[in-house]
Amino acid sequence: MMLSRVFSNARRGAFVALAATILLSAVAGAQRLLVPMDDAQQNHLKAYGLTYNAIKAGASAEWLLNYRGGSFLLADTPELRRQAGLAGITIEPMDNGKVSQLRAEIAGANMEAVPLEKAPKIAVYTPPDALPWDDAVTIALKYAGIDYTPIYDEEVEKGDLSKYDWLHLHHEDFTGQLNKFYLSYRDAPWFIDLLQKNTALAKKLGFANMPGLKKDVAEKIREFVERGGFLFAMCGATETLELAIAGHNVDIAQSFIDGTPMDPDADRKMDWKRTFAFQDVHLEQSPFVNSMSDIDGHQVNVAGRRQPLGTFTLFNFSAKFDPVPSMLVQDHRGVINDFFGVTTSFNKSVLKPGVTVLANEEGAPWVKYIHGDYGKGTWTYYGGHDPEDPQHAIGNPPTDLSLFKNSPGYRLILNNVLFPAAKKKPLKT
């Protein structure tokens, strides 16, 4: 299906030529390129872009789970060698003999070779005037050379989500309260501008206020996953999306944003049956506390509750029986430095049964990285804002990934981009 779409698109003529070249060369040479993802790799992040674009061009690709840090095996073509050379990606040509040895090793260990067939069509939910540098995912996609389409409320309301396979959310506040920044930044020009634009957009789309619009957008995102979409969210979007979905019939916004106080009985009225990851959450009732609920373990913006950063540890899964979580945790490091975000982590006490924990902080009451199925789709939440800017504050300079090209924290983001490309959705144990 993916290839037919590509071929039918006349604007991508050059791309078709590239695809043809890759396919022909692959057949003719019967050679493979191993893209190692252990410490031998000079540029882990670009390696994902190389693989994604190879799949997009129709080349065969496999993800070698747990083999040398989650390596990729690609068709050996001049174009891929060229791209690797340009980006400084380490590749190791392999003849058929070596490939056979590799497959034998994989067969006998907790490893698996997962074919990657379909490059997912990627949408990133972000305001139209936003630069890519304040969202770790767009930073990673830009750096890796993976194309994406920015979409926002207007496109979601129009039903455009159905055009995409994979959707990313970052620091959007789906409760429509602009992350409660009103408390500290109400007089800041950027905040006034943000408030005006969002309020105007809500009115334009026929909603009484921002919370009304955002709840509807959250609902459409829920439906997107239910229908088979892949959702990846980070930072505050994880928490507020869940609150907006569960609070679809409850006033959970403070009066500074919609003119009416939050429903004092909101906790009881929340509908957690509809959410992806959390249940029985307590909402923060005070308009003066910069926190949404007790989902986040770190509460970075509440001085008295703020918890220090530690490290988080990735879980090991059975590559043969649990390939999806295995794909999501492929990394050359098992322990990674934690990083703050509007929502940094997820308290274990509010996780729904059946949620797969991908990474936690040893001994802490929270987890960092979680995943689950919902309807025909899947969702993944990764707490924090930017893996290489642990104390990120508004106005900080953007992260330049050419200085962090081996970032293990960013690799987790890119795992999420690639895993929908897997040939079939494998069964969980």
Partner: protein, 572 residues
Amino acid sequence: MLGIRIRSAWLIGAIGLCVARVAPAVAQAPADTMSFYRALDLEASGKYKDAVPLFREALHTSAAVNALLGLERVYAELGWSDSLVAPVEALIAANPREETYRTVQLRTLEALGRDADVRHAVDVWVHDIPGSVSPYREYARILLQKNRATAADSVLAKAKEVLGTTKDLQLEVAQARAAQGDWVESAKAWRQALLTADYLEQAAAYALAPTPSSSRAQVREVFLALPVEVPSRRALADLEATWGSSADGWNALKDLPPDSASAEAWSEFAQRAEAEDRWTIAREALESALRYKHTSDIAIRAGTAAMNGGDPAAALRLAPLSDAHGDSALIAKSYLPLHARALAALGRPSEAERLVAAYDRFLTPAAHNNLTRTIAWGWVRTGDMTRARAALSATGAEGDSSDAAGWLALYEGNLKSARGLLRGGTESSPELALALALVARIKADSAPEIGKAFLALAKGDSVGAASQFVGAAAKQPTARSLLLSTAAQIDASGGRDVEAVVLWQRILAGEKDSPEAPQAELEWARLLRRKKDLAGASSHLEHMILTYPQSALVPQARRELELVKSSIPPVL
């Protein structure tokens, strides 16, 4: 850890306060304070438990305030701060107007984590001393120390409501606003605070340093607004330096009224600019200082800044010999080196020679030789190599082995001598690096065409130099690519892009295996990127990376390629 640091900080503050208060009392040392001094001795020798009863005894004497501070310290050391609560309450009951008691009470309760009691103590203080700003100030400070900026803001708002103003709380307002990211309001408060406490300049700059770039223009406006006040302008200059813009720092200071405070600010600012080799700004600041306060020292510094900034004529004007009022020793020591350099740079070495001769008897041999080398350099600038050689010979053996001698040899095309002298020299500059690279690549001992090219460069004739290097390339096959690359670099830095591109093309076509080929392609790509030809730049960068994968310049080329493709944030 942070809590420990804060505690140490206020303990140091408390000790300082105690010493300041004790100092005048020591001379009198009335009998009833003997227990206090014995307690101090015991504390100083680390016998905290023994000091406790003596400090407590002294609470009933005229040294009660100092004794309470002492007791606070030793209890903190012993971890017994809760024992201080009752005595301090008794002292407050006896003397409710003593602010130190109240402050110690708040600190103690805060250290014990009794937040509700802190709030209650503040309420009682406000009730007992209505109209006093102190309870609000102390409470706001405690909250700010605990990073509770929003709560501190509420306290300050309450103070404004009750007192009608926060003019005596500007420091706390400034800190609260900065902690909340309200940079413009913080800047306004800092400006007010600096009116009565100019020693807070650095504190203001430190607090506002994290201001995001999007708010900096507004912060500048606050500090630059009329009327002009020296402390706020100095704070802004410090802030600009922190933000990495000395030029903007000078904008903050340049329109100060000419008085002694401004002259001091200008001179201090220039000192920083001098240390950073920002000579144009240093010169402007020193010229401003000179207009108010004309001293030899400032004049020489201004002249040196002008000279280092490439304006030798201004150097002579800013530091005229007449400033020395005929003090020959001062002229010889301070003025001559500057004047000789300026005259040599202006191509007036004979004047420099006469000047040095006039004050020769005041010069040490080493100073004399230095000046002679400077003069020799002046002759080089005029192209008179004979007189340059003669001047250098006059300095004896040392002159013959100097950097200047190495350069002279190079200008004369004597590569054999130049090779030895330049390698052993003490100078370090891009020109020297280029000269060393060339003499290492060329096997011949003599190459007059290379000498002419370097001489043209030394005379500031970049067009002639580039042309000479191209000419030399034809005669020096082993260094052809380096000579062409050098000529291209000179052309590019002089804005002659077309000529530079022709040379880069020549290198890539005829010298594609030379080390200069990847460099030529990288420079070409950079030029195209500057001209917004992103496709052209991208094409050259890709070609360079793929053709010369082993080149040390590949990481630079990859970064350029990222910028061309907007894969990474733009460099601001």
